[in-house]
């Protein structure tokens, strides 16, 4: 097996699933009608509700859903179970569930006046479902923030060659915002300058490695070389578990990342969040395109970078720490999210994209098409990990992607530096947006009861402190899997809503209903497994050793896991009642927009 064969299988998957399955559902079940008025045309307000060209909206939607998920998920899954289970799940997941979830949420919103999932849940299921969804979404965001800050801080602490690029990325983002919105410089020259400088800084990273390594040593010398926190990490020593430490330099980078995210959360979006995302987008896009093409061409030009290095299959239940269990079902299906199926896509699609759909015939290419494109990104990440095979999980990915990029003649050292930077950039830009959404969700959820939370600084501060507390547990793989469980559960809930809506319309609901059952059972089981692992693998050993911070952090994670399960069960029971009600008595008229013209 090599990278070219995997790329060809991926391309065939996209073609067959789109043309033979998704298009048939669109035509026969949803019966998308180009003549039916969409919310964008009915309620056009020039901004939120705005009929938009199909290709523009495809680019916008794809960029909005493509984040760090496919990369981190592939890294963890390949290192735990081998590349074959991860590959099969990516192919099967996107073909039968992923596109159905994204497309279904988009259709649901378009056929319900552009309403969000929670608003549709309020209408179709019950008012309390909306409140539970808020709670669910906040903790879901907290988990992903903790996982991302943790993995970024560890990578930056271990890879000083990435620091210059990251610092210049932020500076260039700020400069771009100023140039576009204040100095009114054109987008093209502003892009060339800021993206060019950021790229140069990333490629020059290896030459500044010594300086930043010295900076890390300076921070560590402040405690005389003693760690701030010592904890038991079950993911170390080839997943047998070992003592680990958090040094001052790691805490410094975690706080620096959080300070950046805090600024991104409270500053006007044009000042920081939006332009930094834009500069980061180019760095990631160039790296990924060079990598994907390099993966295909490498088989002929540089075969050594395209050969699979890690085992195809490592076992059904790899040991993770002394007391941990990691069964392939359900854990694989939450470890890899975005390339196969993801709740984030449904959330964004139902609010951001649905209100801009010009024509119902665009729902399939945008909703399902962007999901298939995301699958290709996930496939690339998996290939990079599979051919990398050197170092810790993130380093494995960077070495693999760097190898693909080096096919184009770039020195391997610089290519690997670019790959590390691409990884951190894609995680960093998403994390700052997550903190922003967390702040808004916290305000929306509790602002009425606790008015001080309407203050954006307080809401952001609480979000940041909670995330740092989770990071201090040290075990980001558990955080990632807990987030994956929440994210996939969000996809299951979105599919549940689509199923209920299809039943209410008297339509065949199987294409959404069957994935709902699988994802719901899988995700609830996975969250319970993660809670078990956290308790016996992290909480108990650290409690026995009298370590306060990891105990509080892992205890908080167990609590969040149980809360998520309780919320999911409540929504599931309410959803089942609503489904049974509509199955017996469909209300065809609900959510049907009038015909245009």
């Amino acid at each position: 097996m090599n990278a070219l064969i995997a790329v060809l299988i991926g391309a065939a998957t996209v073609y067959l699933a789109y043309t033979r399955y998704a298009r048939r559902i669109d035509r026969n079940v949803i019966q998308s009608d180009p003549k039916r008025a969409t919310p964008a045309t009915l309620y056009m307000d020039g901004v939120d509700f705005m009929p938009t060209n199909r290709n523009i909206l495809f680019g916008y939607h794809f960029k909005s859903i493509a984040a760090a998920g496919p990369i981190v998920g592939a890294i963890v899954a390949a290192s735990l179970w081998g590349w074959l289970p991860a590959f099969i799940w990516l192919v099967v997941g996107v073909s039968f569930m992923g596109w159905a979830s994204d497309y279904g949420a988009l259709v649901l919103s378009v056929r319900n006046e552009g309403n969000s999932l929670s608003a549709v849940a309020h209408h179709l299921i019950s008012p309390r479902t909306r409140t539970i969804l808020f709670l669910f979404i906040f903790f879901y965001l907290l988990l992903i923030a903790g996982a991302f800050v943790g993995i970024m801080a560890q990578t930056m602490d271990a890879q000083p060659k990435t620091h210059l690029g990251m610092i210049l990325l932020v500076v260039m983002g700020l400069l771009l915002g100023q140039m576009l919105y204040r100095w009114r410089v054109g987008l093209l020259p502003a892009t060339v300058l800021t993206v060019g400088v950021a790229f140069a800084a990333i490629l020059a990273g290896p030459s500044t490695e010594g300086f930043f390594r010295g900076l890390n040593e300076f921070f560590n010398s402040m405690t005389g070389g003693a760690p701030i926190v010592t904890y038991f990490d079950p993911t170390l020593a080839d997943f047998k578990g070992a003592e680990a430490t958090i040094m001052p330099s790691l805490l410094f980078w975690a706080i620096a990342i959080c300070a950046f995210c805090y600024a991104g959360s409270v500053l006007p979006i044009w000042r920081m969040a939006q332009p930094v995302v834009y500069v980061g987008f180019w760095i990631t896009a160039v790296s990924m395109i060079l990598g994907l093409l390099g993966a295909a061409l490498g088989t002929f030009i540089k075969p050594e970078v395209a050969q699979f290095q890690i085992p195809a299959f490592k076992g059904w239940n790899p040991q993770l720490g002394p007391a941990g269990v990691m069964p392939l079902w359900p854990m694989l299906f939450v470890t890899i999210a975005c390339g196969a199926i993801s709740g984030w896509h449904s959330l964004f699609g139902s609010v951001g994209t649905a209100r801009q759909i010009e024509n119902e015939a665009d729902m399939l290419p945008i909703g399902a098409g962007a999901m298939f494109a995301e699958f290709l990104l996930g496939l690339l990440a998996l290939l990079a990990v599979t051919v990398g095979a050197k170092g810790a999980p993130v380093a494995t990915f960077a070495n693999g992607l760097g190898g693909f990029i080096s096919v184009w003649g770039m020195p391997v050292e610089n290519a690997v530096s670019l790959a590390f930077a691409a990884f951190i950039v894609i995680v960093l830009v998403v994390t700052q947006l997550i903190f922003r959404v967390m702040r808004v969700t916290l305000t929306e959820w509790l602002g009425e009861i606790l008015p001080p939370l309407r203050n954006q600084h307080l809401a952001s501060f609480i979000s940041v402190v909670l995330a740092i507390l989770l990071v201090m547990t040290g075990t980001w793989i558990y955080l990632w899997q807990l987030f994956g469980g929440a994210n996939q559960l969000m996809a299951a809930l979105s599919l549940l809503l689509v199923t209920i809506w299809l039943a209410s319309q008297g339509k065949s609901w199987l294409f959404a209903g069957l994935p709902t059952i699988f994802m719901y059972l899988t995700t609830v089981a996975s969250i319970l497994v993660t809670a078990y692992n956290l308790y016996f693998n992290v909480y108990v050993p650290n409690l026995a050793a009298g370590r306060t911070v990891p105990v509080i952090g892992s205890g908080l994670m167990v609590l969040v896991a149980l809360l998520l399960v309780a919320a999911a069960l409540l929504i599931g029971v309410d959803g089942l009642r609503a489904f049974l009600k509509y199955s017996r008595r469909p209300e065809r008229a609900a959510g049907t927009a009038p015909a245009r013209g």
Partner: protein
Amino acid sequence: MQALRNFIYGMTGYEFARHALEARRELESIFMIVTLGDLIGVPVMPPVYSLRLLPYIAPEIEQWKRQMARRKEFWEREEFDLHGV
């Protein structure tokens, strides 16, 4: 080729264009509330100026009232795309 250009624009410049539109809408909303707020139940003291501005504003009134109708309060706005997910 046009499709590819649109796709790249969707991934790059479209978000800036949307934000510029949002910023303009907020400024215009404030202006409309100050001059023609009585159309949505906000008392406005000097209606004579509103009448003089009416011919210029008339084409925007329908969209403006739709935007206002979606807000909890007329002085609030959806700060972020995912507000109220």
